[in-house]
Amino acid sequence: MTDTVGIVIVSHSADIAKGTADMVRQMVGSEVEVAFCGGNSDGGLGTNVPLIIDAINSVWSSKGVAILVDLGGAETNSEMAVEMLEPERQDLVVVCNAPIVEGAVMAATEAAGGSSLAQVKAVAEELSAG
């Protein structure tokens, strides 16, 4: 199986979301699917539940999807997006408690080796485990 956990990056800023995804792709490579979303529909700062759901769907994997978020609303909107998925898919999506850039790079590094969703989440959260 070449299937790997997908990564979704959710920031209030479209630029941060895209930049973080760029770092993941350049540092880790292309074997892991990475999607990002950021900003509201007016081009301002914010996060948007439908866009997060689209991002989750775009990197969907049978191994699951790990979401990396920045501040407050990114986390609550990501949790809301997960709750709006079909019940059988909800357990396959996790929001990681990790710094967005470092967490995304580490999660993707772990995912590239074919690790499980739980392993990917644990590695991303290693930094905040202190």
Partner: protein, 102 residues
Amino acid sequence: MLETSQADEQTFAGSVRLVHAVGMHARPAVKLTKLAKKFQAQVSVRVADAPEWINAKSVAKIMAMRAAHGSTIEIKASGSDAEAAVAALVDLIATDFPDGNS
């Protein structure tokens, strides 16, 4: 530089000088971790003579090891493919973390 020594039946060790200009920063750390994870063997690294060995499959710990340019990295591995793991990591570091199918 590519010396590997067989410490016992299934444990292999090697050491290699870190030639990367800025030491073990994020990008090399990701490459080293990804390569180490391809092997079944348990793989550890450390800056020569450091008190603790670091799990080479932990990207967080490898990034945090802060190995400087010119330092010597020691590698040890145990398990069925330990010899290949040590050789691969020595090669990755000796060739300065080339881009490619890592």
